[in-house]
């Protein structure tokens, strides 16, 4: 489906400016749980602005390795078209719901298990068109792989949770799908697994994921068939059946590990981090990402990550035990000041997703 509702969305933002209404940007509503809960104050009413009405793939030339689509385009539509042409979104964005949109994937900036080997959502963004909080339409970057004209505002939008602008259109670099993909599963302890991941990751093995959970190391290999077959022998272990399903379940948090009523924490840490906590973890990104269900105080988990040079995000809660906890880790004072300065420039009246990233942005 292809519908251009640029004007309508711009009018909505301008009307909100006039009425001093705050806007909550919603795509497929699949990642509603992520980030701070949107603020409803007594003085300002919050209205929902839906981007799903603004959808469609506007250009795609497989040999250029670039796709451009409106923000409300369903991710599954983009992925299906790419698959037809034997290509993919290399950062494996999680959907978390049937109606997930490209805009939501970029605004949250989340990346899947391939990230340490292929790159993140922000790495693949080439250009964006946005509506600022002043109701102005602006374009940055473009459809070319290299572009250093002007500040990199396109990548600044990735993970900004819609607080700097409403995404209208996004250009993304895509890559060919690997010819062959297999996953080897090796039984070992967590300590052994972390050591093995470090060793593997320093070799030229054709890796595309390294994860660990419940006494098992999962090694995904991707590339030319001959290369994958040779690597399988070096890695050893058992070849997983239905591995594709396994990785999808991990990415979409449908894997049994994620069945818990406790708050889910996401710790992005250096590969060499040693996270010492009694709760069980799901370790992804070659040791660079820990998922932990824990009732512990937010400060304690934050401290655990920051002591290792990383940061913890309160990813998902199932009750209101953390109603007033900032979901994202605190920032250095000067860095925070730069955030506030940027917010003031892009959205001076604070109408776009106010508070979603940090409660005062």
């Amino acid at each position: 489906m292809s519908v251009n509702r640029t004007q309508e969305l711009q009018d909505r933002v301008r009307a909100a400016l006039n009425d001093k209404t705050m806007l909550k940007i919603v795509g497929g509503n699949s990642k509603e749980f992520y980030g701070n809960p949107s603020l409803d104050s007594e003085n300002n009413k919050t209205e929902i602005i839906e981007t799903r009405i603004h959808q469609g793939i506007t250009s795609y030339e497989p040999s250029e390795l670039v796709i451009t689509a409106r923000a409300g385009t369903p991710l599954k539509e983009i992925e299906a078209l790419l698959a037809e042409n034997n290509q993919m979104l290399p950062f494996e964005p999680p959907h978390f719901g049937e109606h997930a949109t490209l805009g939501g994937a970029i605004a949250t900036g989340l990346s899947g298990s391939r990230r340490p080997f292929a790159g993140s959502a922000r790495d693949f963004v080439l250009g964006t068109k946005i509506i600022s909080g002043k109701g102005e339409i602006m374009s940055f970057g473009g459809q070319v792989i290299k572009n250093v004209a002007g500040y990199d505002v396109s990548r600044l939008m990735v993970g900004a949770m819609g607080t700097l602008g409403l995404l209208l259109e996004i250009s993304i670099k895509v890559l060919p799908r690997p010819n062959t993909e297999v996953t080897q599963c090796i039984a070992m302890s967590q300590q052994q697994a972390l050591k093995t991941m470090r060793e593997f990751h320093q070799t030229s093995l054709p890796l595309s994921a390294l994860a660990y959970e419940n006494e098992k190391l999962y090694v995904r290999l991707s590339g030319a068939e001959s290369a994958v077959t040779a690597a399988q022998k070096k890695v050893s272990g058992e070849t997983m059946l239905h591995a594709e399903n396994f990785w999808r379940q991990v990415n979409e948090q449908l894997h049994p590990f994620f069945k818990s009523n406790k708050p889910l924490w996401r710790l992005s840490v250096p590969y060499i981090a040693a996270i010492d906590i009694e709760e069980k973890s799901f370790i992804d990104w070659s040791g660079g990402l820990y998922w932990i269900h824990s009732d512990k105080e937010a400060e304690e988990i934050q401290q655990l990550a920051s002591a290792q040079g990383g940061a913890a995000t309160l990813f998902k809660v199932t009750d209101n035990s953390h109603a007033y906890t900032e979901r994202f880790a605190p920032l250095q004072a000067k860095i925070k000041q730069f955030h506030v300065n940027l917010k003031m420039r892009f959205d001076p009246y604070g109408i776009l997703n106010y508070g979603r990233l940090y409660s005062d942005l």
Partner: protein, 490 residues
Amino acid sequence: MTSATKANRNSLRNKLHQVLPKSSILETEEQTRPYECDGLTAYQQKPWIVVLPDSIEQVQTILRLCFEEGVPVVARGAGTGLSGGALPLANGVLLSLAKFNRILDINPDNRSATVEPGVRNLAISQAAEEFNLYYAPDPSSQIACTIGGNVAENAGGVHCLKYGLTVHNILQLKVITIDGELITIGSQALDTPGYDLLALMTGSEGMLGVIVEVTVKLLPRPEQAQVILAAFDDVVKAGEAVAAIIAEGIIPAGLEMMDNPAIRAAEDYAHAGYPVDAEAILLCELDGTHEEVSEQIQFVQHLLKQKGATSLRTSANEAERLKIWLGRKSAFPAVGRISPDYYCMDGTIPRHQLPKILKDISELSKEYNLLVANVFHAGDGNLHPLILYDANIEGELERTEEFGGKILELCVEAGGAITGEHGVGKEKIDQMCVQFKSLELQIFHDIKHSFDSKELLNPGKAVPTLHRCAELGGMHVHNGLLSHPGLERF
């Protein structure tokens, strides 16, 4: 813009002499002359004063003093930049990071290296070699250019298509703000909370802060790398071969094209065995495991023949591979030998526009009566037309600049950009008015103000004033549409 007076500068000079050793301040004509330009020698300006700090504390003090006195400051690495980004200011401080040349840490387990900004690009890979790791971005000037400048310009190289630009290969920066505060942007982990200031800082051309430490990602060296040199009797066929390789799902480590004038110059200089009668050559490098490379080399050889390659040569060993690359990597100095001066452009285009752009450039070349040699990062659509000229001939530099400007406008029209990896600097500031509308340029100024409220960091570079674009607008009426129509004109 700064309103610093002579009194401010005198006061700053006195304070600088109090905090820095005498040897770290250069003021005389013969001392400051070497800093009058960067790699773009067409623009020259001696700085008012040069300072060479050797500690983070000294940089903090220098910036704080500049901030207090309202004196502008331009940071400089090795000065190899090609857009005049490090061009000094007559009334400003030139801050050289040359003494920040230590590799602080190579961490193979974290696959990262932490270095000072004055460390040369190639030195990082050399230091990581004992762990069989390397730093991927490889601008042609990598033996001389420094990592701080690479970050400031978001430098590329010949391996960008597969391995990305600088922005994809760094983890963390330590930056001094204009008021002297030390901040950490990014982290040693892959994701960092908040806005992606790491991306914003990369390629910001010294306009937002001064980088004093960089943590880069390191990659395992591929088991094998081989390059195919393919000759074509037509540049369009070479361009089609590029699209065919990528359409087959192969991402080469490097995919470069050169046209006949560039081939001749490079061969004459580097003796790499290039076929000098070819209209175009492609260099296609494949890397990975032994099995993968062997499989892909055969496939690509076959494909290139199918697409009309007139001859093929494949490197059989590392020495031969490096020799084939030497011709390409020395293309700029090679062209420098056949012409008194050359002017290197850096536009990018969607790849399928290549035949049209090359035809247009060749027509402009006739119109301006100036020869052009084309070097092209074909995989990622980044063109480097080298315009040959003689600065001693009255008016030739001006004609060259006008010709170059037209090439960049063609790139924008084709859906590309005015700079792929060299930056805007002083050189392409007018073309920014073609690339962006007033609203975008205004937000760029707003971003600068968010970090540098007094506009003291490298002022006058990278982003033109709206006023300047309005004045130029009269000259750039395109399809009857005036650019920046909302601005008052004179």
